[in-house]
């Protein structure tokens, strides 16, 4: 089992909370979390629905392994239709919130409609109620969590909330839980804000007593944990440097896009790297990094906890940012740093703290700011008051504009649109470094060719967490492939995409896949859940989830024509590094990819494929 077999349906318009049984037929086909919640969403919502209207829904979902002692078994996801993309959105988060939902007895929560005035959902085991959020509307996610603990006199309540960014309609607002873990991408916080839902607060004391075969499950999880310990990436690299272990590596292979992706190597990479976070600062002799930290059940512990130099210009008069909090991961260090050409580690950390506190995706923010900097440079913003001297490399501009975007003030309102809408508005859509409206993450697909295909075909817009071929092309996991070659990449991308969908549907973290394959996941799922789960059935499950998402996107109005990349990536060669002279050769990979997927030349799943996967 491992499911609680119970979901909570919250109608915000009516103000009702209604339990209902989990659809176990769907659970057998879609497992949980990403897969199962997507199934619920597509069955219940019109694909053409306006993502920010009351007719759309927002689902918070756990997987069967969430709340178990399987390593990293603490994940939850938010599934909805994304406002940036108009495509299916699924954002995954760690921390402790997902496990708490499970311990309260719920597999998922479906939010529908829109509340008349701000509310938060309070759950204590099987009791759930909507309460007024008037007092916390406008507060940061940090203050919201503290308020909830005080209001209910219980510091053990886990809270997931939006900040002012989500309330004010920043298009890439996120949902933050446990202070610095986030369902970060695709504007899921914007959707939550559109429903007047400020927070979900859960206290669960019931535990999880539904593992199918506890003894075999213990054997499987113990063996899998050993695999993580023995692997150099999950056993050493990630605990020591976090995902920031990649900064210098990706820069060296010439895939660290810089200054709105004009360059592929950043001269300041070393200063904002994982290694730099360990170095004592010249100013106060302390390193930026305080410690590493784990999410629930995680035996890797890649999380970064950082503390700023109190005398840094960003926080001199802001004691609320003097404490330790969630530090820079590779993506954030890249987007706030290399993408904007900024090498001030403290300023990036400050910007990251604000993104957590105000509930905003730093990847999309940094990339949007980079686009604005380029618009400014070419004179497209001459008639606009952008506040500071918004030029590449300015830590002052970064610090000031992250704050105004978080608070939706001044030019920050424009930055809150995301790069696609911003660049269209000012007449240069080609400067938006995005796919389907969602900004790129931190790997240049000129230097890592497989990622170009992964970005172009990702069901939620540009994303590294939908098919991370970097593992193979750069790190040699599970086998090394040439990052500059296109041969074989269609198959590689498909395999990564399908496997990832299975990991995401199980309730575990995709970072385990640096060490685990589905061969390591299958025994854990099989011992925990009803039914028979093998490597093959999980791979097929992943493929089914992928096609379900694709099918929804096609019905929502997207087509194969949207499986593309910005002109810059397809036509402007990399200027330096190993990929010098190369562009992203998407056209060489896409037709083969469609073929391998069992899709038509236009990128539509054929009847045969649909039948094979039971769609």
């Amino acid at each position: 089992m491992a499911w609680q077999k119970k979901i909570l349906r919250v109608n915000l318009t009516e103000g009702t909370c209604t339990p209902e049984p989990l659809n176990m037929e769907w659970a057998a086909e879609y497992l949980g979390q990403r897969g199962l919640a997507t199934k619920y969403y597509v069955e219940e919502c019109d694909p053409q629905v306006d993502p920010l209207s009351p007719a759309s829904k927002l689902i918070m979902a756990t997987g069967p392994l969430t709340g178990t002692d399987a390593s990293t078994g603490g994940r939850y996801s938010v599934i909805t239709k994304g406002p940036l993309t108009g495509a299916i959105a699924c954002s995954n988060s760690g921390g402790y919130f997902g496990a708490e939902m499970k311990f309260a007895g719920w597999d998922m929560i479906i939010f529908e409609g829109k509340a008349d005035s701000p509310v938060y959902l309070f759950i204590e085991n099987d009791e759930a109620e909507l309460l007024s959020a008037d007092e916390i509307w406008g507060k940061t996610t940090w203050d919201t969590e503290e308020w909830v603990h005080t209001r209910h006199q219980d510091p053990q309540i886990r809270v997931s909330s939006i900040g002012p960014a989500g309330e004010n309609g920043v298009m890439y607002a996120c949902i933050v839980n446990d202070l610095h873990r986030a369902a970060g991408r695709s504007g899921v916080g914007t959707v939550m804000g559109s429903k007047n839902l400020k927070a979900v607060a859960i206290r669960g004391t019931l535990g999880l007593n539904t593992i199918k075969d506890p003894a075999r499950f213990m054997e499987a999880t113990t063996a899998a944990k050993k695999v993580l310990v023995d692997n150099a990436v999950t056993g050493q690299g990630l605990p020591t440097y976090g995902t920031q272990v990649l900064m210098n590596v990706i820069n060296e292979i010439g895939a660290l896009w810089t200054r709105n992706h004009r360059d592929v190597q950043f001269e300041g990479a070393g200063k904002i790297s994982g290694e730099a976070m360990h170095e004592p600062r010249a100013t106060d002799g302390k390193p930026n990094l305080v410690t590493n930290a784990a999410c629930f059940a995680c035996t890797i512990a890649c999380g970064r906890i950082s503390q700023l130099d109190k005398n840094h210009f960003t926080v001199q008069n802001k004691p609320e940012y003097w404490g330790a909090s969630g530090g820079l991961e590779y993506e954030n260090a890249w987007s706030l740093g290399a993408a904007t050409g900024t090498d001030d580690l403290e300023a990036l950390t400050y910007a990251n703290f604000l993104c957590n506190a105000y509930g905003m995706d730093p990847i999309s923010f940094g990339t949007t700011l980079a686009a604005a900097m380029e618009l400014n440079e070419i004179g497209a913003l001459d008639d606009v008051d952008t506040g500071d001297d918004m030029v590449f490399g300015s830590a002052q501009a970064l610090a000031s504009l992250v704050e105004s975007t978080c608070k939706s003030e001044g030019f920050g309102v424009e930055l809150g649109l995301g790069s696609k809408r911003l660049c269209e508005k000012y007449g240069h859509p080609e400067l938006s470094m995005s796919v389907k409206g969602q900004e790129f993450p931190a790997y240049d697909s000129r230097g890592i060719q497989g990622m170009g295909l992964a970005y172009a075909t990702s069901n939620r817009g540009a994303c590294h967490l939908r098919g991370y071929t970097v593992a193979s092309e750069v790190l040699g996991i599970p086998v090394k492939t040439d990052p500059l070659a296109t041969e074989g990449k269609a198959g590689l991308v498909k395999a990564f995409q399908d496997a990832t969908a299975a990991f995401d549907s199980a309730g575990i973290c995709i970072f385990t896949s640096f060490a685990w394959t589905l061969d390591d996941v299958a025994p854990q799922v099989d011992a925990a859940c009803e039914g028979t789960w093998t490597l093959d059935s999980l791979a097929e499950l992943g493929e089914r989830v992928w096609n379900l998402e694709r099918d929804f996107n096609l019905k929502a109005g997207l087509s194969g024509k949207d499986d593309t990349l910005p002109k810059r990536i397809l036509t402007e060669p990399a200027k330096t590094g190993p990929a010098k002279g190369m562009v992203s050769k998407l056209g060489e990979m896409l037709p083969e990819y469609y073929q391998l997927r069992g899709w038509s030349e236009d990128g539509v799943p054929t009847d045969e494929t649909r039948k094979r996967l039971g769609l």
Partner: protein, 158 residues
């Protein structure tokens, strides 16, 4: 030889594997709210600290119990609740200065760490060595070794 649970908070990452293992061992399933060991996060300092019963020699809980439901396990030195005797009066929870003995409303009894009869599940489950089960009389040995090493190297340098 008696052993003690030794906690090195610097090594704790806050993963909660100890809480899950404890509840699994003592309750039969994963229910961290009934774990006898709890992990605390001190967010502003970036610190985590697991905490549980230290098995006091003159245990407040044992002396406070009006029905003698708390006994000493001779092999481990653990103070152990006799569920058949405990009446759930909770006087022990008031007596314990450390808060490590608590009432469980599901059973109507109190619960505390009993060292799992000499094989504590939390120490076994801890992935970072933040919780270990060591010779009760030598729990300072690692720190002594560290200080010895440091003083020795500075003495040599001089």
């Amino acid at each position: 030889m008696q052993r003690s649970l030794v906690v090195d908070p610097k090594k704790c990452t806050g993963c909660m594997q100890c809480e899950m293992a404890c509840s699994l061992e003592n309750e039969g399933f994963v229910v961290p709210s009934r774990s006898r060991i709890r992990v605390f996060a001190f967010h502003d300092e970036g610190r985590y600290a697991p905490f549980t019963c230290t098995q006091c020699s003159e245990a407040w809980c044992l002396h406070a119990c009006p029905v003698n439901a708390i006994t000493i396990d001779a092999s481990t030195g653990a103070k152990v609740i006799l569920d058949t005797v405990c009446v759930g009066c909770r006087v022990c929870t008031i007596a314990c200065p450390f808060g490590t003995i608590n009432y469980a409303s599901n059973s109507g009894k109190v619960i505390k760490c009993d060292l799992c009869g000499g094989e504590p599940a939390c120490a076994h489950a801890c992935p970072t060595g933040a919780i270990t089960y060591q010779d009760a009389d030598q729990t300072g040995l690692d720190r002594m070794r560290r200080w010895a090493g440091e003083s020795l190297s500075s003495a040599t340098a001089q």
